[in-house]
Amino acid sequence: MIQAVTARSDEQVLFDDLSARTDLFWGSMLSQRSLTRSLETSTALSLKDPTVRDELAELFNRAMDEAFEDDTESAFARGLRSIILTHGESAMDALKKIVLSRSVNEGVAAESFEVLGRMNDSMTLISRLWILESGLFSSSARIRDAAGLSLASLDDPHAIPYVQKAIDEEQCDELRKDLEQVLEQLQETAQCH
């Protein structure tokens, strides 16, 4: 019985002289965050990280019992920010799957949008924008509202065509007026740039 055992493609040794190393390469030289997508310009798939997916799922589950107040930062918000700052793009990939799913709790999704809008982290900006812009087209009015408000907080003109499209499609008068204000603000910001 002959069994061939080959290194899988994701386990390839990328350097030619490992004996030259004295560091724990994966643990210390590059952090998990920088490994996942080290360049803003890269489109490579981020490393699968079951830990971050589980961490986020647990955070969202715990948040179901939490009461969110307007002027107080919630434990959920602190936890979400910490996970994003620690894991970068792999956290964003996992978050997209949770927060844009049909089964997400509307209140928790809205709270998570607020965190995404307030964060100042250039590494995850593109992903945060994409989530909030997608939220504009949610079937939940509460999530659409939260997406608009958070895009106003983020104040990035990138969202202009999507806010415009959302206004065109919005059936709720009150929400449409709010989105028009967001659009006005973003257009002013664009003129300043």
Partner: protein, 254 residues
């Protein structure tokens, strides 16, 4: 004189393809929770396996395609087509030949794709070498701005992005041209198992493959405002492939 000989030699050796990737970043709100059957409409037959995770909006389909293994992954925020050749002892796919079937497949899918705001073409290529010094000499012939000392150095890794303006006629469209150059090896061990419970086995073969490794990630910049018009996407994708081909042929040039 010996260095000149090496340069000519490296240009005539074809890269082999480890994997090819096309990534599409859909416009927000344009991919339905139940994505269409892109595999069937693009490949022309059902996949060998399909995994659907409706709660998180992920669909993964896989099957043999051409001489490789094709995978389609649709998840929130991105759609990836990956064509890989995992059984390298059976199939060695020259880069230029692998491009033909893959590009044709992607262009067919783009006719059916959602509205996109960013696209990418990725490739992982190999160039077999006899030893480290041979590998470094080959890498040197592609890296015109790097002074690499083949005899006196190890652990070389070079990564660079050289953005270029697109020629597709779209205002302010910039294309990132990321390339990562290194020398790598894979090791294949063969065991003879002596009993059905596999409690006793003996190492009977060890094969080490050493090669120059080139990772390419050619992608449109995320800075562009708005979405691509459907009529432009195919042209842009062809441009990304041409830029990858240029780097594999001419090396790292501005």
């Amino acid at each position: 004189m010996p260095e000149e000989t090496h340069e000519v030699e490296s240009k005539t050796v074809d890269w082999q393809t480890e994997s090819l990737r096309m990534t599409a970043f859909p416009s927000p709100g344009t991919v339905p929770a139940e994505p269409p059957n892109w595999w069937e409409t693009t490949v022309g037959e059902p996949p060998e396996s399909r995994i659907h995770q409706p709660k998180v909006g992920v669909v993964q389909a896989q099957g043999r395609f051409s001489s490789g293994v094709l995978t389609l992954i649709s998840q929130p925020g991105r759609i990836d087509w990956l064509l890989a050749w995992p059984n390298r002892e059976e199939v060695v796919e020259p880069f230029e030949e692998s491009l033909g079937t893959f590009v044709e497949l992607v262009l067919r899918w783009l006719g059916d794709a959602p509205v996109l705001q960013r696209i990418a073409f990725g490739a992982i290529l190999r160039l077999p070498v006899s030893d480290r010094i041979d590998g470094y000499r080959k890498l040197s012939s592609y890296l015109h701005h790097v002074d690499l000392d083949p005899e006196g150095s190890t652990e070389f890794l070079f990564q660079i992005n050289r953005p270029r303006k697109s020629k597709a006629g779209i205002e302010n469209l910039s294309i990132n041209r990321l390339s990562k150059w290194s020398l790598a090896f894979t090791q294949q061990a063969t065991y003879t198992v002596h009993d059905p419970q596999a409690t006793q086995f003996q190492l009977t073969g060890l094969q080490k493959d050493l090669y120059c490794r080139l990772e390419l990630d050619i992608n449109t910049s995320p800075d562009i405002k708005g979405d691509f018009a459907a009529k432009d996407v195919r042209q842009i994708f062809n441009e990304l492939v041409d830029l990858a081909r240029e780097i594999a042929t001419n090396g790292d040039i501005p």
